[in-house]
Structure formats: C-alpha cells, structure tokens
C-alpha cells in the first residue's frame, strides 16, 4: 500500500558548514524552458498591454464607460504596474543570505526530496510549469524560492495577496524576489481580470518563469487542506485548452512544518481572540521567535501532473474552435467541472506527500483523552503504546510518517513532547495538554481569580486548537475510514446498502470540511472499505458489513476522529434552530457566544468546536444543502433565511452519531 516515496536531503546541513555569503553570491545558471524567448520585465508588460485579449476588453470597456481607449489602456497599465513582479537576482541573493541565517536559527533541518527537484528541472525544460505548494505559513513562498535557488532551478513568479502590499518595504522586496500582487476580490472588474489573467498567461506561455500560486487561496489556519480555489487554476490551464502550448506541468508541493511559526496566532484568530497584549516591541517578539526551536521542515516536490493527460478523454478541446481565442468567454460546465476535479486531485496529491511527525499522532491521543475529561493525564508508556498502535494503523492507510524506527518508541515520544512543550504538561510520568498553564503564564503574578470562566475557556481553547492543528495534519489519512466507521456506528443494521447511505450522507455533510472529490462517493466508500478490510477490522460480503473481533479498537478510534465535527455541526444546527433573524455577519460572533455558553455548562464535550473555521464550513454546508438560504441583494442583503424543519432533522440525524 505504501507508495514508494523519495528520500530527503537536509539543505541546511551544507549551510552550517560553508559560507552563507559565498552561497548567496554563487553562480546561478538555472535550466530554462526550451521554448523560451528571453525577455525583460518591461517587455513582459508591453506584451500584456499589446495582447489581443486585453485589447478586446479595453475596447469593450471604453465603449461601456464612454472613455477613450487610451484612457482605459492607461488604467490597464496602472493595474499592471500595481501587480507586476520585478524579479531581480540581487534581491534573491540578499534573501538567500538572510534566510540562511534565519533558517539556521529557527529550524533543525530543511529536508527536500532531491529526486523531485530533478523531475522539476526536467519539467521546466520541457513545458511551462506551475508550482502548487500547500499553504500553512507565510514562510511557504520564501522557502520555495530559497530551495529553488539552492538547487539552481528557475525562480518562480508568485501570485501573492494584496495584503503584503501594506508593508511598503517588505512588499517591494517581495516584488523583487518574484511576487506579483493580486487583489483579493475583483468580482465584476472586467479590466482587472483581463490584465491579471493575461499577465499570468503570458509569463506562463513564454516560459518566462514557473508560475507559483496556492491552490488553497490562503493559509490554512487549521492545517487541514482548504477547498481549492479555481480562478488561477482556470487561468493557467487555459493556454493548454486553447492549444497555445503543447502541455503544462502542474507540480504539487507539500510543505510540512514540524512546528508552525503561526501556531498560537492561528488558534487565536480562529477563536476571534485578539492577539496577546505584548508590552514589548515587535522586535522583541521576533527575537522570541528566533530563540525557539521549530524542529524541521519537509518539502516534497510531487510528481509533475501533465494538464494534457488530465484533459485526455475528458475535455473536448475543439469547443474552442468556433470563437476567436482572444475573446473572453465564460468557461463551459464541462471545463468548470474538469478544473474543479483537477484541483481536488492536486490538493490530494499535496496531502499524500505531507510528512507527518510522531507528534501528530500524539495529538490525536491527547485530544481524545482531554475530551474524555481524563484529568489525570496519560501515563507515558500508555501514550507510547497508543502512539505505536496509531503509527502502524496510519502506515497501513498510506501515511507518509516520519517515525524514526531505529530509536525506541518511548524516546521518540518524549522528544516529540519536548519540542512541543508549550502545549503539554508532564508531571509524575503522566502527560496531558497544558490547559491551565497558559492562563498562568500570560498574566504572571496575578491571581487566577481575576480571570473570568469565559477567559479561561478561551485560553484553554488556544492550546486545544493549536493541538488540533497538528492532529488535523493526519485527518486526510483517516477521513474516509472515519466516515465509514461513523456510518457503521449509527446504522441500525449491518446491511451494506444502509451503511453506504449513512456514509453518503456524512460525506455530503462534510464535503466543505474535508477534501472529498465531488462525485466520488462510490470510490471513497470503496477505498474506506478496502482499507478497513485490509487491516482486518471489517469483513464485507455482498450484503453485509461485519466488525471483526480486533476491529473494535480501530472502529472506536475512527469514530472518535469524526466526533468533534459531528458535535460541531450539530451545535450549529441547534443554534440556528433557536435563532429567528440573523445576518451572515452576525453568524460567527453569535454562534461562538452560543457555544461558549454550552461549553461552560458542560453540555458540549469538544472545546474545538469553537473554531470559526468549523462554524463557517458548517454554515456553507447548510447553505449548500438548502437548510439555510442566503439572501442576495435588496434590503435584506446577507440575511440568512432558515429552514427550521430541515435544520431540526439534520441536527437529529447528526445527533444519532
């Protein structure tokens, strides 16, 4: 089952042994695209402004707005100016030097699969390349460029959100290291869209540089992969679909951090808690970060995916034959679903090659213990036993687990715990999450009574959500079996069909929460069955699904994986049932308040349901299922219309689980 994956090399090792300056000034001669016509940054802009595509839209806009084409062209040029990158080797060298210093301080190692980089080099030579890294940290794209520079590969141009532009100097620095900036939303702005898409396409088609962007659109605060955004993927696939290039290589890249820099930051953001008040300056904060140990980073460059082979026997490219290709057209249903499926496939490819650390498994155990109100904590050897059990299970399910097999498991466990000592407390050989300490540390010297129960809960939630963000890294491994386990758990009989129905319901319910490819219910069901049968937890015949003797432990674990989410969605339904009038904006604060109340009275078990990510996903799911309707336009813009009957019944169904 375990796929053959490449080995890793630590690139920091060499940095620790040789001069960073010499490294930053090294001779850099990357392999370029074979069809490249070299051109300067300024020429690129000219090509965009003179393109037929943009010309067409400019004429259109000038007619609509009653402006001259020169004026509109001026606007387009200004948009381009705001957007364009100015990749410059000197800046890259500066970053190479600085980042070497920073990385060496922060991380023990940065491991990359060199074979993947060789494949990438080949891909860059043969076809235009799109780099698709996972997005868990601000660090991601600096890290990407750093690695590519280290291996003498072509530096990418990177689609970045406008938010960076706020930071004047940083923004410009990033621009000079290849970032180009796009507005977060430009809904109806035809001209902006035309400039933007043409700019990306021209850089891609000409093989100017690999184009890099984040399929997930933004950093995932939960470490779960986000539902892919299709806009940019649509743009980069277009030149292939319209025959302007022979093929395009999409390269999924999985970046896994042993400890995320933004760990607590994300947790607070999800809870809507303001950042902790720091009396000291930002500089001090940076120094504090620098003094910590963030373990290692694993970067895995996946197998390049050919757009041509993705489209083979799926897309009829001759549909573009009848309209001049420079006229923008809305993509057909066929194309949209093709791009969507491809996006899911790519995100799954990212997930598959994410390296998991032992700590991720420990997080499962510790969170489940915590939810079971086990105040005692877990004995170290019990924790180790459970972790080893999970290790074997996850490996059977194909996890890319970096568990050092040559070290005794107990040592693996304790070294993991020590790296994450901020999140756990060990006393008298028993381990539990460090829920109390946070409050104590934050306001030293003050008595605990100064903290309201609500504040205490939120402080605990920060730790829980931090911990959840590690557990989530492995959710994709377990999600299909977990959906199946829950379906078995609630089904009234062993009948396969009934279990399939339950599976299908849950999968549908949670398809905003996890990466579940649209329309692949049967495949997912079969995959889950296959895994559980293979590991001896289930026996499945034509009609029935039976749990084996040894399967109970597995099923109990898997059911508990899904539990927090079931409870979260259920409580959102409950909340909405009790509401009368609510707007989308009010939803998060109100549901949070509702949940806090219930947590404090002990009616809810999982503190993690406080995560606004879960709440948003639940709402999106309910809207998708039609239980909630979002009113668009008019006076009641953004008001949520609630279908109480349906919400009630959904809550019931979820509650049975």
């Amino acid at each position: 089952m375990l796929k053959k994956r490449d080995d890793f090399e630590d690139i920091l090792e060499e940095r620790r042994n040789s001069s960073d300056l010499r490294y930053a000034l090294k001779c850099y001669t990357p392999v370029l695209y074979k069809g490249l016509t070299p051109c300067k940054v300024s020429e690129l802009k000219q090509m965009v402004l003179q393109s037929d595509q943009l010309g067409y839209v400019i004429t259109q806009v000038s007619k609509e707005k009653g402006m001259t084409t020169d004026e509109v062209t001026g606007e387009a040029a200004a948009i381009l100016e705001e957007m364009a990158q100015r990749l410059q080797l000197s800046t890259v060298r500066f970053f190479a030097f600085t980042l070497s210093k920073v990385f060496k301080t922060l991380f023990r190692s940065i491991c990359v699969n060199e074979e993947g980089l060789q494949r990438l080099q080949q891909a860059i030579h043969n076809h235009p390349v799109v780099l698709l890294p996972s997005h868990r940290s601000y660090m991601d794209f600096l890290l990407m460029s750093y690695i590519l520079y280290t291996y003498d590969l072509a530096l990418p141009v990177i689609a970045a959100g406008m938010d960076f532009m706020g930071m004047k100097v940083v923004g410009e620095m990033l621009r000079m290291s290849g970032a180009f900036f796009i507005r977060r939303s430009f809904g109806g702005d035809k001209l902006y869209w035309a400039v933007f898409s043409e700019y990306v396409k021209i850089m891609l088609k000409n093989g100017y540089a690999p184009v890099e962007f984040f399929l997930e659109g933004t950093r995932s605060r939960t470490a779960k992969s986000l539902t892919p955004k299709l806009g940019l993927l649509n743009i980069v696939m277009d030149p292939f679909l319209k025959g302007e290039v022979f093929d395009i290589s999409l390269v999924p890249v999985s970046i896994s951090y042993e400890r995320t820099l933004e760990e607590a930051l994300y947790a607070r953001e999800l809870l809507g808690v303001p950042k902790p008040k720091e009396s000291t300056s930002g500089l001090f904060k940076a120094r504090k970060i620098l003094s910590e140990d963030y373990g290692s980073i694993h970067v895995y460059f996946g197998q390049p995916v050919s757009v041509r082979s993705l489209a083979e026997s799926r897309v009829n490219r001759s549909q573009f034959n009848l309209i001049p290709r420079h006229i923008p057209t809305r993509p057909s249903e066929e194309i949209l679903s093709f791009v969507n499926d491809s996006a899911y496939r790519l995100v799954r490819a990212q997930e598959e090659n994410m390296v998991l650390k032992p700590w991720v498994l420990l997080a499962f155990v510790l969170l489940q213990k915590q939810a079971a109100e086990d105040k005692q904590g877990t004995a170290l050897d019990e924790l180790t036993e459970q972790a080893v059990w999970l290790r074997d299970l996850s490996r059977h399910y194909g996890a890319f687990l970096h568990w050092p097999d040559h070290i005794p498991p107990s040592e693996v466990v304790s070294s993991s715990l020590s790296l994450h000592r901020g999140l756990v407390r060990i006393s008298e050989g028993r381990v539990q999450l460090a829920l109390e300490q946070v409050g104590g540390q934050q306001v030293p010297g003050e008595t605990r009574s100064a903290i309201t129960p609500e504040e205490e809960l939120l402080n605990q939630a920060v730790v829980i959500l931090s911990c959840v963000s590690y557990r989530n890294q492995a959710l994709n491994i377990f999600i299909r079996p977990a959906l199946l386990a829950s379906a078995i758990h609630t089904a009234a009989s062993n009948r396969k069909q009934e279990i399939y129905n339950g599976f299908s319901f849950l999968r549908n319910m949670f398809s905003n929460e996890f990466i579940l490819c649209p329309g692949a219910t049967v495949q997912d069901f079969e995959e889950a069955c296959y895994l559980l049968v293979k590991t001896g937890a289930l026996q499945i015949n034509q009609q029935e699904v039976l749990i084996t003797e040894r399967g109970h432990r597995t099923l109990a674990f898997l059911t508990s994986v899904l539990d927090p989410f079931l409870q979260g969605y259920q409580v959102v339904c409950r909340f909405l049932c009790e509401e009368d009038c609510l707007t989308e904006k009010q939803f998060i604060p109100a549901v949070r308040k509702f949940i806090i109340k219930h947590l404090l009275t002990g009616r809810l078990r999982y503190i993690e349901v406080l995560s606004s990510d879960l709440q948003k996903n639940a709402l999106a799911a309910l809207i998708r299922l039609g239980a909630v309707q979002k009113i668009k336009g008019g006076e009641e813009q953004g008001t949520l219309k609630l279908n109480k009957v349906m919400l009630n019944s959904l809550e019931d169904t979820l509650g049975k689980k």
């Binding site: 025959g243 022979f246 093929d247 490219r317 001759s318 034959n321 001049p324 290709r325």
Partner: protein, 660 residues
Amino acid sequence: MCHTFPALTSDRSSRICSLLYKHGSSMASNSSGSDSSDRQRIAQQRLSVIAGHLQRPVEGNSGILAAECKAQGDKLDVSSERRTVPRRRQEIMKWNGWGYSDSKFLYNKKGQAEFTGKRYRLSGMIIPGLREWMESTFGANLQHKTPAAPILNSSAVQPPTLNEAFLKELKSTGIPFSHDAEDRVFRSHGHCLHEIFALREGKIGRVPDLVVWPNCHNDVVKIVELACKHNVCLMPYGGGTSVSSALECPPEETRSIVSLDTSQMNRILWIDEKNLTAHVEAGIVGQDLERLLNESGYCTGHEPDSMEFSSLGGWVATRASGMKKNIYGNIEDLVVHIKMVTPQGVIEKSCQGPRMSTGPDVHHFIMGSEGTLGVVTEVTMKIRPMPEYQKYGSVVFPNFEMGVACLREVARQRCAPASIRLMDNEQFKFGHALKPQVSSIFTSFLDGLKKFYITKFKGFDPNRLCVATLLFEGDREKVLQHEKQVYDIAAKFGGLAAGEDNGQRGYMLTFVIAYLRDLGMDYYVIGESFETSVPWDRVLDICRNVKARIVRECKDKGVQFPPLSTCRVTQTYDAGACVYFYFAFNYRGLSDPVHVYEQVEHAAREEILANGGSLSHHHGVGKLRKEWMRETISSVGMGMLKSVKDYVDPNNIFGNRNLL
C-alpha cells in the same frame, strides 16, 4: 466516365513541372521576350521536354480529337498509346511502391544514394548528403535492410468472385475487362503506408474481382446499368494515388466488386478559345492534360503534387487542390460543368453559365463524393494561356514564427505568388540533404559563402531558420514587380532572399518524397504525410502541437528512435492556410510497426482537430478519416449527405463505403 477517385494526393507524387525533368531545366522559366513567337518557342520547348520524358515521338495536333467513342471493338486504341497510363499499368509502374518502375532511390555499391532512371531532373544523379541525413535523422543503417517482396505472387491473390450474368452481358458490349490477378491487385490499393507496407510483405487482402476499362461516357452508362441490373459493386479507379484508404475493398462486401478504371477515357474532346474552356474526359491524368493543352498554348494551371498520375475525375471526386491555386484556383474554382453517371441516370447542368443561383450547387454533391455516388465521365474546365514567364525564388527566415507572419501578411495583402510554401527547419535540412552532387568548385564555394553570410553575418541560427519557396508566373514585367512586392514584405519579417536554386529544390522535394518513402522502407523507416487547413491565428499552435504530439506518441508507443516530425505551410488563403505534416520513424525493434504508425497518425489527427484544424484540406476522407465525419459536419450534415446517397444510389452499387 469516371471518376478517378483517389487521385489526389498532393504531396505524394511527383510534380510534372518542367523544371523537374531532366531536359526541362532551361525551359520556360528564363524566357524573356513577350511576343507571340516566344510563346511558340516555349510551347515547342515544352514539347521537346515531354518527348524526352516519354522517350517517344509526340504527334502534333493531338490535343483535339473527335469525340466519338473509341470503345467499340477497337481494343488496341492508337490514341491511348500516346498517353502515359496504359491499360496494363504494370508495364511501366511499380506494383508495390510509388511511380515508374525505372525510377527509384537506391544506395549504390559505394554506399552513396542515387536516383535511377532518366525521367526526372534528379535521375542518374548522386545525392551525397542523403545517407548521412538518413542515418542521423532516423538512426537508419545500411546494414539493416528490409527488402520488399520482389515479385507479385499471383497465387496469393484470392480467385475472383464473378457475377456470371453481369460478365456475359459485359462481354456483349465489347468493353475491355480483365480478371487477371495483377490487374486486380493494382487496383486494390492507394498509397497509404499500410497498403504499401502490406504489398511489400507480399500480403494481399480483398481485391476487386474484375477490372473494366470503359473508353467513353457511353461505356460507363452501360457498365453502370449492368451493375445495377446484376447488383455488383462498382469502385471507380482513376490514378490510384489515394491516401485515404479510399480504394480499399470493404471486407464486408460480398458482391462481386468491379473496378472501373477510367484511365482510357483520356481525351480532350474540345477546346473553346472564346470562353477559355476545355471539355475533357475525366480519366485523363494531370501530366497528359497539361501536355496536350500546352500543345495548343493553354494550361489549366491545376498542379496537385500527384499530377503525374492522378486523374481529373479523381480531382473532382476528392476536391483537389493544386500548387498554383493562387492564380488558377482549386478544382471547385476550375470546374465549369460536370457529367456524372449514377445508378439513377446521368447528372449534368443544362448550360455552362459561369455562376448560377439555382439552389444549392449540385456540383458540390459531386465534388468530394469520393466515388460513392457515381462516375465522373466528362468535365468542362477553365483553361488559361500558358504563362509567358516563370520564376522560382526563396526566402530564408530566422525562424518559423517569422515565416508564418510573413505568409500571413502576404495573404492579407492578397499578393501571394502562384505558389508560396514555408518549410520548417527540419524540412529545410532535409532539402539540403537532397542536393545533388555539386559539379563545380565554384558552386560549392558560393554555397559556403551564402551559408556564412546567413548564419554568421546575419546571425541566423541554423537550427531554427526556415525557408519559404516561391513560384511566380505571368508576364515578365508583372512577375518582376510582384517578386519585388513579396520580397519587400519578407524583408519586414527578417526574410532574406535566398535565390532561385533553393526555390527549385524546394519544389523538387515535393516530388521526390514519394519515391523516398520507398527507399526508407528498404531500411526500416516508415512514414507518411497528412494535411489540414486551419485559421491563420492557429497556424503556429497547430504546427507546434501536432509535431510535439507525434514525438510524444512515438515515445509512448515504444518507438526506439526519435521520429522525424516536420511540417510546412503549403497554401495561403484569406482566412487561413493549408498545413502539411510529414512524419516518419525507424521501426527497428517494433513487432507491429504499421499498427504503431496508425496509432500515431490517429493521435495526430485528434490533435489537429483539437487545435482547430480541418479533417482534410484536399486528401479527402476515404475510409481512413470516416470516424471523424460526424463531429466534423454535424449529425444533420451527415443526414443530408446520407439522404443524397440514398436517393442516388439506393442499392449501394457504388459501394466503396467512403466518406459516410
């Protein structure tokens, strides 16, 4: 009479163009005067060329003959003796390769490539660069030979299924026929790779059961009547140059298959100098038609690359295109009147008006019908006075992109010369490899100098540059003026004039390539060409993508050597261009090379369609490309064609199963 159906194949055949023939090199191209005596001189020169070519005396005034039917009892027709194509094709042509038996490429004892025979300009010459080109392009090796079966083994041919009643009545008409195995095999195929490959291996599939040679329209009427009466399947046969599997006998056909060979219907029935038209029997092959018209000072100007062997009826039946269509037009522009014999009777228009608004043009049911509706027997065609002056030319561009941009501009300004073709870099190199041995040190010195100028002084990358070949035709002054206009445009796209020689050699490449394929097949190399037409804005994309697709498919299918995958733009139109692809590979190590070849060609056609190219510009559909017809012309379109077929030929007498 008929409908030669598979005639057209542009690239596959030799061009008759005088210049390619050994004795023709000094011909029309350099004549300078413009008075009528000059014209006569040219005509005479042409005659002598043809005389040399055929090695037979040519009688004067043979152009216009009486229109009476020659068939009755006159089996040794004298006038057809003068024509190129005898009833027994095997007397002059190869049974398992291209063209004349006496002309072929081979490696002589010294291992040098040589072209045999006396017919062509290249005949008897050594081509020093060819061996190295073949070795380096394909990884071919003189040690690894794949010789063809030397003779046709008649016992391998299935005995004919004869319809006795039909045969009896046919005999009574006196129309010549044969069920000799050789005659039948010759008419059982065109020149697709798989067809020739099988013949070389001595494999013979379903062949026609009988061959008939009607001598005139009335003969065809009789044959078709008898075929309908006795329910036999008729397959018109013209020049046999099809590259669409159009001549393949449908394996599911259980009736007796009669091949209707039009080659003996080859007279020009009249020439009308007032209207500049000629009325011609449809079996005439291109070279005869031009030669006979030339004797009267005229030409049609229709020169498909296959014109040595392809027939007028075949051109009509496949919607042929000629090299010089920019001046003379394609077949649909040249045809004024068509007579076709169908199972429902004879179809023809009642007058010869130059244009009519009388509903959909019924000629367009006939043109491109590929032998599925009937036999084209007589055609009235436009003719033109022979051009006073011809001049070749060539332009070198730094890269293919610039070349295409230049052709596009030429088309935009509507100033395309008689012919303008742009070869990509690989074909440019190929053309170079075909240079015959240089006779003087001076020429080779000049060549070296040119090369130095282009690559070093002008900075052209020899691995990127490409060349356009040009042919100008008309009166001298206009030609020179036209030439300047075209060269001025070319200069704007970085083009450098590269001389007449390169131009000539470029056109020669077209005609030798069909012979070259036979040489390749002697050494494990198989290949073919295919064409499409495409809007201007997609020309570059389609060229790149199709070439890359071929390379990738070859790799995927286990071809051990990199293939030759190359293209050229051969025709320009207002709204697009015709693009030709050449594709060949060394098949050593493959167990079923023809299957691999077909898979790759199939993929390449898919790629063409996905990139906005047409199913065919002029080769036709045949059976090879049938599967894409519905998506090409829509279901309604198919229904329209189908209903015409159902009305005209309800019993599928013309049962070659092409097109639909």
